[in-house]
C-alpha cells in the first residue's frame, strides 16, 4: 500500500510504489494503476448500461405494441422504467465519466504518475462493482426490483401498490449508498490529483478542458451525493424501521399505517438537491471532452479557453441553486417558482457561451471528419436541441402544462442521455488507441455513428410533440383516453421500431471494441497528432507510472494548434519553450483589442 506522500515526492524518479504489477492478478484484477482501474470502471459501467439499454427496448415494446407482449405487464413495465433510469444516470454515465474517463485521463493529462491515492482508487472500483451486484440482485428478489420511478418518490415507492416495494426498493437504496461510497473514494482522488499532482508548468489555466470538466463535476459529486446519501438512509429507515421522515399520516391500500408527520416534499428537495447537480456531473465532463475532441480534430485551438473554464465553473456554482425547477408543480411554496425559474434561465447564458465557442472553434478550422469528430458534431446538434427545450421547462409558466409529460422525457433524454452518450462514444473512439494501442475500425464506427445519431434524434424529437399534446409519461398504456388521437399510437410504434434499431446498433460498437482489440490497425503513439499531454508519453498504451524516468515539464496550454510559423499544425504541451504556441495572455489580448 502506498501513501499520498509517495506520490507527491518523487517528481523525477520512477520509484516503485509498491503497486508495480507483478502478476496477472495484481496487473489486471487488484490493480492500483489508474489506467487499469479506468478500464475496469468502464467495462462494469458499459455492461450495466447494456442492461439499461435492453430495459429501455422492453418498455418501448409495450409502448409501441401495447399488450402484444404478455410478459410485460404493468408491474414489469414500471420496474423496467425505474431500473432503466437509475442505471443509465448513475451506474452508466456517472461511473463512466468519472470512474472511466476521469481515472484514465486525469493523471495522464496533468502529467502525474498515478492518482494521489492508488489504493483508495482500487477500492473505489471494487466497491462500485458491489453496488452494481446489489442493484442487479434486485431483479431476483421476491417482488422484483422497485417500480417507483428512478426519482424514488415516497410515499408510494415504499408502500404496497408499487412493484418492488418489498425488497426491490431496499436493494436499490443499499446499492445507491454503496455507490456513493465508491464515488466519494474516487472523487477525493480526482480532486486531490488535479490540485496536487500536476507536473511542473501545468498551471490550472493550462489544463485541458476535459480535466476541467471532470474536476468540477467531481467537486459537484462530492457536494451533491451526500444529499442523496442522507435521503437514502432516511428512506431506508422509513421503510424498514417505520420512521416517518418522509411519510405523513396516511392510508395504504385501505389500511391505516403507523406513519405520521413526515414530509414527502422534503425527500423531493433532497433528491433534486442531488439530482440537478447530477445532471451537470454528467454534462460537465461531456462539455470538457467534446471541447478537446473538437479542438484536436479541427486542428484549431479552442476558442475562448478562459471563458470556457469560467463557464464550467459558473455552471457548476449555479447548478446547486436550480434544483426546485424539477418541482414547479410539486406543491411546494408557489413563490419559490420565481427564484428557481430565474436561476435556471441564468444558467442558459454560460451554457450558450459553450455552444458558441464550440462553433467558433470549428469556424476557420481544418475540420477532419473522423469518427470522434462526427460524434462531437452530433453532440452539438442534439445539445442545442436539448438545451433550448430546457428554456421551455425552466420557465415556470411554460412548465406548468408540460410538467410530467413526454416533453420532459424528450428534453432530458436529448440533453443528458443522447448528448453525453454521443460524447462518450466520441471519446472512446478518440482515446481507444491510447488505451489499447490499436485504432477502432473506421467503417463500423461510421455505421454505428449514423445509426446512433439519426436514430436517437428520430426517437426523441417527435416525442416533444406528444408531450405538448399532454401525453403523460410513466404510463403503461394509453388506450381509452379520448384526447390522444390514434395517430399518437402510430408515432409510438414508429419510435419503438427506431429504438429497437438503435438498440441493436449498439452491438456494432461492442463488436468494434472487441474486434479491434485483437485485429485493429496499430496506432502510433499520437495518432490524432494531439497537443495534450496524454499522447506524449511515447507509448500507446502508456506504461505503468505513465512517464519514464522523468516527469514531463509543460510550457504551454493544451491547445497550441495551427500556430503560425510552427513546422507542424500542433505543438505538444511539453515541447521545449522555444517551440512557441503560448496560451493567449491577457496583455497580448489587450494589445490585439486596441489595434
Amino acid at each position: 500500500m502506498s501513501t499520498p506522500v509517495d506520490k507527491i515526492l518523487p517528481a523525477d524518479a520512477a520509484v516503485d510504489h509498491g503497486h508495480a504489477p507483478q502478476s496477472f492478478l495484481t496487473r489486471y484484477v487488484w490493480s492500483q494503476d489508474h489506467k487499469v482501474i479506468a478500464v475496469q470502471y468502464s467495462c462494469i459501467a458499459i455492461f450495466t448500461g447494456l442492461v439499461g439499454l435492453v430495459l429501455s427496448d422492453l418498455m418501448r415494446l409495450q409502448l409501441g405494441f401495447p399488450g402484444r407482449f404478455a410478459f410485460i405487464d404493468a408491474a414489469h413495465y414500471y420496474q423496467f422504467v425505474t431500473m432503466h433510469g437509475m442505471i443509465m444516470v448513475i451506474y452508466l454515465l456517472t461511473a463512466l465519466f468519472l470512474g472511466g474517463f476521469g481515472n484514465y485521463l486525469i493523471p495522464l493529462m496533468v502529467g502525474a504518475r498515478d492518482m494521489a491515492f492508488p489504493y483508495l482508487n482500487m477500492l473505489s472500483v471494487w466497491v462500485f462493482l458491489v453496488a452494481v451486484i446489489v442493484l442487479m440482485a434486485s431483479f431476483f428478489a421476491p417482488g422484483g426490483p422497485t417500480g417507483g420511478g428512478w426519482t424514488l418518490y415516497p410515499p408510494q415507492v415504499i408502500t404496497s401498490g408499487t412493484p418492488g416495494f418489498e425488497w426491490g426498493i431496499i436493494l436499490m437504496l443499499v446499492s445507491l449508498l454503496i455507490f456513493i461510497v465508491a464515488t466519494t473514494m474516487g472523487g477525493l482522488n480526482y480532486v486531490t490529483t488535479v490540485l496536487q499532482l500536476r507536473c511542473e508548468g501545468m498551471t490550472l489555466m493550462r489544463m485541458p478542458l476535459s480535466v476541467w470538466g471532470i474536476f468540477v463535476a467531481t467537486i459537484l459529486a462530492l457536494l451533491a451525493f451526500p444529499a442523496l446519501f442522507v435521503s437514502g438512509v432516511m428512506l431506508l429507515l422509513d421503510k424498514t424501521l417505520g420512521s416517518s421522515f418522509f411519510m405523513p399520516a396516511m392510508i395504504s391500500m385501505g389500511q391505516a399505517t403507523n406513519y405520521k408527520g413526515g414530509s414527502p416534499l422534503l425527500f423531493q428537495h433532497l433528491f433534486w438537491f442531488f439530482g440537478h447537480p447530477e445532471v451537470y456531473i454528467i454534462a460537465l465532463p461531456a462539455f470538457g471532452v467534446v471541447s478537446d475532441l473538437i479542438s484536436v480534430h479541427a486542428r484549431k485551438s479552442i476558442f475562448g479557453y478562459r471563458m470556457m473554464v469560467w463557464a464550467i465553473l459558473a455552471i457548476g456554482v449555479l447548478s446547486v441553486v436550480v434544483w426546485a425547477h424539477h418541482m414547479f408543480v410539486s406543491g411546494m411554496n408557489l413563490y419559490f417558482g420565481f427564484f428557481f425559474a430565474t436561476t435556471t434561465l441564468i444558467i442558459a447564458v454560460p451554457t450558450a457561451i459553450k455552444v458558441y465557442n464550440w462553433l467558433l472553434t470549428l469556424w476557420r478550422g481544418d475540420i477532419h471528419l473522423s469518427v470522434p469528430m462526427l460524434f462531437a458534431l452530433a453532440f452539438i446538434c442534439t445539445f442545442i436541441n436539448g438545451g433550448l427545450t430546457g428554456l421551455f421547462l425552466g420557465n415556470v409558466s411554460v412548465d406548468v402544462p408540460l410538467s410530467g409529460t413526454y416533453f420532459v422525457v424528450a428534453h432530458f433524454h436529448m440533453v443528458m442521455a443522447v448528448s453525453p452518450i454521443l460524447v462518450v462514444f466520441g471519446g472512446i473512439y478518440h482515446w481507444y488507441p491510447l488505451v489499447t494501442g490499436r485504432l477502432l475500425d473506421d467503417r463500423i464506427g461510421k455505421l454505428h455513428f449514423w445509426i446512433t445519431f439519426i436514430g436517437t434524434y428520430a426517437i426523441y424529437f417527435p416525442m416533444h410533440y406528444l408531450g405538448i399534446l399532454g401525453m403523460p409519461r410513466r404510463y403503461y398504456a394509453y388506450e381509452g383516453y379520448q384526447f390522444i388521437p390514434a395517430s399518437a399510437q402510430s408515432l409510438n410504434t414508429f419510435i419503438t421500431i427506431v429504438a429497437l434499431i438503435v438498440g441493436v446498433g449498439q452491438l456494432l460498437f461492442i463488436a468494434n471494441l472487441i474486434w479491434s482489440y485483437f485485429h485493429g490497425e496499430r496506432a502510433d503513439s499520437n495518432p490524432w497528432r494531439a497537443a495534450s499531454l496524454e499522447w506524449q508519453t511515447g507509448h500507446t498504451p502508456p506504461v505503468h507510472l505513465n512517464w519514464g524516468a522523468k516527469l514531463p515539464v509543460v510550457h504551454r496550454w493544451a491547445y497550441a494548434y495551427s500556430v503560425p510559423g510552427a513546422p507542424q499544425d500542433f505543438i505538444a504541451q511539453n515541447a521545449p519553450p522555444q517551440a512557441g504556441g503560448d496560451e493567449p495572455e491577457q496583455g497580448a489580448l489587450r494589445k490585439e483589442h486596441a489595434r
Binding site: P66, R474, S562
Partner: protein, 378 residues
C-alpha cells in the same frame, strides 16, 4: 459531407415536422391562454436559435472541411465577439423570462371570488368535495377514513355535515366561474391534470395544495394522474364536465351530503362485515386489480366488478356465458382463456393461493349480489 447534409435534413425535417405535426396542444378550455402564448413565444425564439446555430454549423463544415495543404486559422480568442454574444444571449433569455414570470405571478394569485372544489386523489381513482351551504369544509384526517367515509371527514365536525361529496370519477363545474382547486390525498402523490385546462398541481399527502383556473368551454374533459402513483397510475381516470351555471347548480343540488351519505352507509349496503370479503377487497387493491376493474360500474381497462356476478357476458370469440363461481376462478387464473368483448387481452396472470382466490371471489360476489347496480353518470 454526409454530416452537413444530415444536419440540413435534420433542421428542415424538424421544421417540417413542426408544421405538419397533427400532435399539438389540446384545444384550450380555460383562461390560461397566456401559458399557450408563452409556449408559442418560447418556441419562436428557441426555434430561431435552433435553425440559425445548426445552419451556421453546416456552413462551417462546408467551408472549413479538411483540404490538403490547408491550415486552420489561429484565433484563440475574441473578447469583443464573446462579450457581444453574452449580452445578446442574456437579452434573449430575459425576453423569455420576464413575460414568463408575469404569467406566473397570475398563477400564484387566485382571484378573491372563486368556487372552491376539493379533489381527493386515491390509488387509483378520483373523488370530489364541495363545501356545501355553509361554504366551509369539514375537518378531515386520515384516521377517519373508512370504506364508507373515503374522504376521512370528522363525523363530529358540524361544518362537514353539509359538505357535498362526489364519490364517482366525474365532477361538474360551471362555465366562466373561477375555480380554486384544493388537492388532497390520503395515500401517495398524485397530480390532477386536465390537459385542456393547462393549469395543474401535484397532490401531496399530509398537506393541501391548490391551483386555480376558469373554464371557458363547455364539454367533458378527461382527468389524468400525472405523478407516478403505483401500478395503476396509468389508469386513474376521471372527468370534469363543464356546463352552464344553472345546470351545474342542479347537478350539485342532486349530490349527497356527508350527513346523508353516512346515514346510507349505516343502513348496510355493500360494506359486508364478512372478513373474507374484507380480505378480498384488500387483495384486490394490493394486487392492483382495481386499477383496471372498477367497483362503481364504470368500465376501465377491464370490465367493472359492480354487478358482474351473475351477469351474462359476451366474449370476443362470439360466445356468451353467465358469470358464476367456477367461471370467475377460471378467469382469474387463466385470464387469456376467454376475453370479454370490447376489452383488450392484457390481464396478467397472478400468483394467487386458493385462499386468496376464495377471498377475491367472495368480494366480487359481494359487489354483484347486493342491490341494483348504481346508476353510472355519463
Amino acid at each position: 459531407m454526409a454530416i452537413a447534409i444530415a444536419l440540413i435534413l435534420i433542421v428542415a425535417g424538424s421544421v417540417l415536422f413542426h408544421l405538419v405535426s397533427p400532435w399539438w396542444t389540446t384545444p384550450l378550455a380555460s383562461d390560461w391562454g397566456a401559458m399557450d402564448d408563452m409556449l408559442h413565444l418560447t418556441l419562436l425564439i428557441t426555434g430561431g436559435f435552433f435553425v440559425v446555430l445548426n445552419l451556421f454549423l453546416v456552413w462551417t463544415l462546408l467551408r472549413f472541411r479538411h483540404r490538403p495543404n490547408h491550415r486552420a486559422a489561429y484565433r484563440p480568442d475574441n473578447r469583443r465577439l464573446e462579450r457581444g454574444l453574452i449580452v445578446g444571449t442574456a437579452v434573449g433569455i430575459a425576453a423569455l423570462l420576464a413575460p414568463g414570470l408575469v404569467v406566473y405571478a397570475k398563477y400564484v394569485s387566485p382571484p378573491a371570488e372563486t368556487i372552491v372544489m376539493e379533489v381527493l386523489g386515491q390509488q387509483w381513482k378520483w373523488s370530489y368535495r364541495f363545501a356545501g351551504a355553509d361554504e366551509k369544509f369539514g375537518f378531515v384526517d386520515p384516521r377517519f377514513v373508512t370504506a364508507s367515509n373515503p374522504f376521512g371527514l370528522d363525523p363530529s365536525d358540524p361544518k362537514g355535515a353539509d359538505d357535498v361529496l362526489v364519490p364517482g370519477n366525474e365532477v361538474h363545474l360551471p362555465l366562466g366561474k373561477a375555480v380554486k382547486v384544493l388537492l388532497r390525498s390520503n395515500d401517495v402523490l398524485h397530480d390532477f391534470y386536465v390537459p385542456p385546462f393547462r393549469a395543474r398541481m401535484n397532490i401531496v399527502p399530509g398537506t393541501v395544495t391548490s391551483f386555480w383556473f376558469t373554464p371557458t368551454q363547455t364539454g367533458r374533459f378527461e382527468v389524468l394522474c400525472a405523478q407516478l402513483c403505483g401500478v395503476g397510475h396509468y389508469n386513474m381516470r376521471g372527468f370534469v364536465v363543464v356546463e352552464p351555471p344553472a345546470a351545474f347548480h342542479d347537478w350539485l343540488a342532486a349530490r349527497q351530503t356527508f350527513a346523508v351519505a353516512m346515514k346510507a352507509a349505516e343502513s348496510g349496503g355493500v360494506n359486508s362485515s364478512d372478513p373474507l370479503v374484507a380480505r378480498g377487497r384488500a387483495l384486490a387493491q394490493a394486487k392492483g386489480c382495481v386499477a383496471c376493474h372498477s367497483i362503481d360500474g364504470n368500465a376501465g381497462v377491464g370490465p367493472s366488478w359492480k354487478g358482474l356476478f351473475g351477469k351474462t357476458e359476451h366474449y370476443a370469440d362470439g360466445s356468451s356465458a353467465q358469470i358464476d363461481d367456477a367461471g370467475l376462478r377460471r378467469d382469474i387464473k387463466e385470464p387469456q382463456a376467454r376475453v370479454v368483448q370490447g376489452f383488450a387481452p392484457v390481464m396478467p396472470k397472478s400468483e394467487l393461493s386458493d385462499a386468496e382466490l376464495d377471498a377475491l371471489v367472495a368480494y366480487i360476489h359481494a359487489l354483484g349480489g347486493t342491490g341494483a347496480p348504481q346508476q353510472v353518470q355519463r
